[in-house]
């Protein structure tokens, strides 16, 4: 049943097959990985919710030139390179800075942004003005960002975060000393948030950093098409025009003048931001959180029942694998399980689309925990019930189905409800495997509006409502399965 469900889902959400076919089809589909939470480069337009930004406009112009159809996939910065490795996207458009390490493993286009890094501190901090001052201080950085390496090399202790908005929040709260990031991104943050709690404290060295689109080594043909398109767009002034629109100067060539950033999001009250985000978050709940929960829970229960029975079997060949499975699921973080299913399995040729990968990982997780709940519930049915079933001539399966499981179900409802409630909230982890669910929508909105507190409160409210409905269901179900007990 589980496999059937998986297959059905696979058909429903059939992944658009990738762009390695650059030569074959007239208009190849190219999948683009980007954060969507990194204004002004890649963010959701506050009015329409559509993906926009400097990098997005540039890659759209490139696609138009090169004759590609684009599909955008949004993920946290740290999920972008794994997604590229696993063949889930074909290129990254997210201000990826060229460095030797990355050049060794990936193919870069010619740069379309020239910028430099800056050190950001809390407004009241006067101790840090140069990279040398970072020695022994704490810096909030995204794990795989090149700015992290810069901070590390300067001797900073790194606190890992998901993006600039989180880093800025930590700075403002005095939890870290500094963060190193791209000049333009920081200017945008300052303009949008209007924050006076943090400031640009100085340049992160003198080196100019260059940002470009990045492809897998095997996609040289695509990269070359992109380079050709970029050259044309530079010649006809398109790149300069896009840059002027965002920065009032041309950052697509070296030595741009002073960069000015107008806020990506201006003049909305917090209430307006919450109102604008309410629907995208609800959509994330309806299209991500809730279906993920339902599918994973049902599949997980089927797995759990099979594993629980195997675990209690008199056959070692069933018992041992069941124990190992339960031990692995309960002994490893869900986050690691998600990463293995999503980024690891493609390496052995199993490439599931995001939603399916999240369902698989969550189902397996629920299966491991619920198996023990079900086992305990079966053991909670008095042994005499099994004996009574035996003496009226029932075999193992009849006793289970007719006598033991209906009584175990009653015992299992409260603890399984706990499992379900945990699952509702665990689906927020699916955002790291590129599933756009409730929490991811909140992150996207928070990044552009910087109204972190209000938006995460709304997200929490949504989760609470879903969980409240689940607990109402639990009471109804408890009444139903317990009607025979007085």
């Amino acid at each position: 049943m589980f496999l059937l469900l998986l297959v059905a889902l696979a058909l429903l959400s059939a992944p658009t097959q990738g762009a390695s076919a650059a030569s074959a089809a007239p208009r190849p589909v190219v999948r683009v990985g980007t954060e969507g939470t990194y204004p002004p480069f890649s963010y959701a337009d506050p009015k329409t919710g559509d993906l926009t930004g400097f990098d997005i406009e540039v890659i759209r112009a490139v696609a138009q030139r090169a004759g590609w159809d684009l599909r955008f996939t949004k993920g946290t910065f740290d999920s972008l390179f794994p997604a590229l490795d696993a063949g889930r996207v074909d290129l990254l458009a997210d201000q990826i800075t060229i460095n030797p390490d990355r050049s060794a493993h990936y193919l870069f286009t010619t740069p379309y942004t020239y910028s430099h890094g800056v050190i950001v501190t809390a407004a009241g901090n006067h101790d840090i003005t140069t990279l040398a001052d970072l020695e022994g201080r704490s810096a909030a950085q995204s794990e795989t960002s090149n700015w992290t390496q810069v901070a590390k090399d300067a001797g900073a202790k790194i606190q890992y975060v998901d993006g600039l908005d989180q880093a800025a929040a930590l700075l403002a709260q005095g939890r870290v000393d500094a963060t190193v990031n791209d000049n333009i991104a920081v200017l945008d943050y300052l303009a949008t948030s209007g924050s006076t709690k943090i400031k640009i404290a100085g340049n992160a060295g003198n080196a100019v950093s260059k940002q470009a689109f990045v492809f897998r080594k095997s996609d040289a043909a695509l990269r070359d098409q992109a380079n050709q398109a970029l050259a044309t767009l530079a010649d006809d002034g398109t790149l300069a025009r896009i840059s002027q629109k965002y920065f009032k100067s041309d950052v697509t060539v070296p030595n741009a003048g002073k960069v000015e950033v107008k806020a990506s999001d201006t003049g909305r009250s917090t209430w307006q931001v919450v109102k604008d985000t309410a629907w995208p978050m609800l959509r994330g709940a309806l299209k991500g959180t809730i279906p993920l929960t339902i599918v994973s829970f049902l599949c997980g229960l089927v797995i759990a029942l099979a594993v629980a029975l195997a675990r209690m079997s008199s056959y070692g060949v069933l018992r041992v694998p069941a124990r190992v499975y339960i031990s692995i699921i309960r002994g490893t973080p869900l986050l690691v399980q998600l990463f293995i299913v999503f980024y690891g399995l493609p390496e052995i040729g199993v490439k599931l689309p995001s939603f399916l990968a999240a369902c698989l990982a969550l189902s397996l997780n629920v299966g491991g925990y619920a198996a023990e709940v079900i086992r305990a519930s079966i053991l909670g049915v008095p042994r005499g019930q099994f004996e009574a079933a035996t003496t009226i001539g029932m075999d193992y399966w009849q006793s289970m189905r007719r006598i033991v499981l209906p009584q175990a179900a009653r015992i299992a409802v409260p603890p399984l409800s706990n499992t379900l409630l945990s699952l509702v909230k665990d689906t927020s982890l699916a955002s790291i495997v590129l599933v756009t669910e409730l929490f991811r929508e909140a992150q996207v909105a928070a990044a552009v509006s910087t109204r972190t507190m209000a938006l995460y409160c709304v997200a929490a409210l949504y989760y609470w409502v879903i969980c409240y409905l689940v607990s109402l269901g639990q009471h109804a179900l408890e009444k139903r399965v317990g009607r025979f007990a007085t």
Binding site: P382, G384, Q385, E387, A388, A389, T390, T391, I392, G393, M394, D395, Q398, R402, I403, P406, Q407, R410, F484, A485, T486
Partner: protein, 263 residues
């Protein structure tokens, strides 16, 4: 209602030979032999730990004996030489189980089913009988144990005595050749014991073959055609109901004195 008519007239309905069973190296049955004639009531007595319940549970293989033979009607299992392959072993045991019905000390009714549901579960699910026939038979049985009209109640809504009478009816619903009763009144409040014993007396009078483990000596005197006194895993004394009034064996005498004093 004479049971076991299929067996040859000379043979007993139940025949147990050389039954042995140990739990964790501790011998509980050390060679038990017994026979039960069709249509009679046999009472199994003995101090606790003497192995009475184990004998009963060996007859329907809730405990698998280590050695010995059990025959009920035409079904026989030789536990000293069980078939190697699991399929035939299971078939033999299943055939033996089908010959007996069991009444437990603490009834073990299915709490998620109504009284009627408890009675028709075996006939429909195991014996594959048509539902309306099973329901009709179950209603007759419920009348017989004095619970006509309570068929839609759940076990938890009944008194202990009523529950045990449903337990008896459930066992009878399968039309077994012999009814095994494991201390059917021991878990009941004293004032409820009478109604259950009354039902069992009726069954004996109707000619059901009964094998009863009980401490109710006075009741045993009334219904028993045969009395078996079990001590330390062997049958120490056997005979008619006179064993209860005038035992030959000293240990039987001591046991009866203790039980009658307590009762």
């Amino acid at each position: 209602m004479t049971q076991g008519s299929a067996a040859a007239p000379a043979a007993s309905l139940v025949e147990v030979t050389g039954l042995e069973k140990s739990f964790g190296g501790q011998p509980v049955l050390r060679g038990v032999d017994l026979t039960v004639e069709a249509g009679t009531a046999t009472v199994l007595l003995g101090p606790s730990g003497s192995g009475k319940t184990t004998v009963l549970r060996a007859l329907n293989v809730l405990e698998t004996p280590d050695r010995g033979r059990v025959r009920i009607g035409e079904a026989r299992v030789d536990f000293s030489a069980l078939p190697r392959d699991k399929g035939s072993r299971r078939r033999e045991i299943k055939a033996l189980r089908a010959c007996s019905g069991m009444v437990f000390q603490s009834h073990h009714l299915f709490p998620h089913m109504t009284v009627l549901g408890n009675l028709i579960e075996g006939p429909i699910q195991v014996q594959g009988r048509p539902r309306d026939q099973a329901v009709a038979d179950a209603r007759v049985l419920l009348e017989q144990v004095g619970l006509g009209g309570r068929e839609d109640a759940y076990p938890a809504q009944l008194s202990g005595g009523q529950q045990q009478r449903v337990g008896i009816a459930r066992a009878l619903a399968l039309k077994p050749q012999v009814l095994l009763l494991d201390e059917p009144t021991s878990a009941l409040d004293p004032e409820l014991v009478g109604e259950v014993l009354g039902v069992i007396r009726d069954l004996a009078a109707e000619g059901w073959t009964l094998l009863i483990v009980t401490h109710e000596v006075r009741f045993a005197r009334d219904v028993a055609d045969q009395v078996l006194f079990l001590d330390q895993g062997v049958i120490a004394e056997r005979g008619g109901p006179e064993v209860l009034t005038d035992p030959r064996e000293e240990r039987t005498r001591r046991f009866l004195a203790r039980v009658l004093e307590a009762g």
